[in-house]
């Protein structure tokens, strides 16, 4: 059953990622683009976990965890820059 379900999920995730990229390109303002990047990294985590199940490999979790930590720091840094014009005050 999983052989059929995982490609379907991959298609959904692919569509989600392309919609996010479309917003990233289109997004009229700066916060829209940051939000799109934020969503992009969260979707990338979901995609990595899915890929790990597909290949039955445990290795992808470290990557997913690292993306989770770094993505959050990136979002906060860019937002802070937008808010104050400086990251470390």
């Amino acid at each position: 059953m999983l052989d059929y379900v995982i490609p379907v999920c991959l298609v959904f995730m692919g569509m989600a990622l392309s919609l996010t990229v479309a917003r990233l390109i289109k997004g009229p303002d700066m916060p829209d683009r940051i939000l799109a990047l934020d969503t992009l990294y969260i979707n990338a985590i979901a995609l990595l976990v899915l890929f790990g199940i597909w290949l039955s490999s445990d290795l992808y979790f470290e990557a997913a965890l690292l993306i989770a930590v770094m993505g959050f720091i990136g979002t906060v840094a860019v937002t802070k820059y937008l808010l104050r014009g400086d990251i470390i005050e």
Partner: protein, 110 residues
Amino acid sequence: MNIWIEGLVSFFLLAGSLFAFVGALGLYRLPDFFMRLHGPTKSTTLGVGGMVIASLIYFGARGEGISFHELLITLFLFITAPVSAHMLAKAAMQQKLRINENTSGKPWDQ
């Protein structure tokens, strides 16, 4: 693998990817920034949560011992998603972004 476990894993995978897709659709479709903020903060986080639960069950059922390792990702996302949403909302209010005309109430001045 047991058919029931496989069904359970499939269910969580489908639910997770559907939530992630709906979140992204919200990000694409909704008319103004503050409304777009709702999609990613809720749906996408739960999407990752569904995926992680599926992988928890999958790797647990393969008999290599249950590892709760993956739960850290979900825990971390559930802590950080509201924080980044809050900061983005503040940034958007400071930039005085265009607001949908149906909106009642006003954002505060920063």
